[in-house]
């Protein structure tokens, strides 16, 4: 079945308030989701480090898990600590 959308009315919109447009790890827009996810939003949230850099949670977790010794922010290489 093929559906043609003739018009649509939005009732709400949202966007992340991040200090950048794209995730520095996967390079996808923050308003989209990481390459493993389908739906942006709560399924693919953003997280912030104490250094103020921000990533998709899935991306930063993969990065931290790939680091054997120190867990550093991929942007500024300060020790990565999640912002409360």
């Amino acid at each position: 079945m093929k559906v043609v959308i003739k018009s649509w009315t939005s009732v709400a919109s949202w966007r992340w308030i991040a200090n950048d447009d794209n995730c520095g790890i996967c390079r996808m827009p923050f308003d989209g989701c990481c390459t493993d996810c389908k739906m942006p939003g709560d399924d693919c949230p953003l997280v912030w480090g104490q250094c103020s850099h921000c990533f998709h949670i899935h991306c930063i977790m993969k990065w931290l898990n790939s680091q054997q010794v120190h867990q550093l922010c991929p942007m500024c290489r300060q020790e990565w600590k999640f912002k409360e």
């Binding site: 520095g24 390079r27 990481c34 991306c59 990065w63 550093l72 290489r77």
Partner: protein
Amino acid sequence: MANIAVQRIKREFKEVVRSEEVAKCAIKVELVNDNYTELKGEISGPPDTPYEGGNFVLEIKVPETYPFNPPKVKFMTKIWHPNISSVTGAICLDILKDQWAAAMTLRTVLLSLQALLSAAEPDDPQDAVVARQFKENPDIFWLTAKHWSHAYAGAPKSYPEFDAKIKRLVDIGVDEHRARVALSSYNWDLEKATESIFS
């Protein structure tokens, strides 16, 4: 290859193509195969270095685990530099090893390599022969690096005396590259170079 690696390389590829460095002809990337696992990079030799005027080709292999691990990069163009093997083109640069970070990109890697050409680290060498010359005979190092840039990277011609010495060895049947390596390694001492080839 993992989705994230392909997606990212595709985006980065566009990013490099659009970058101002490409407009200035300082860096370049090309695809080698269709699945984005192998690329060909190119950097121009920075001004005020013995590499000025040369174009240096790089082999870039993107691992399955990119960007969580660095791309594997080596020089395909032969080069005389303390941190690059004159034999294999292997590069000693921290960001391509343990100092890699996922936020780095093809563009930043190429620019870092260009910076490495401007600022060698002889105390952390990849090629010990070159590094020793760099420290002990900086003038000869400069001329030798310039000579290699002309011979392999298309930089302007420099020091005819070196060409004459290479020709002496070629005339007695030595392969040109082998002659160049021997002479470069022995600070262009024809006698010592000849001895090293025939010993």
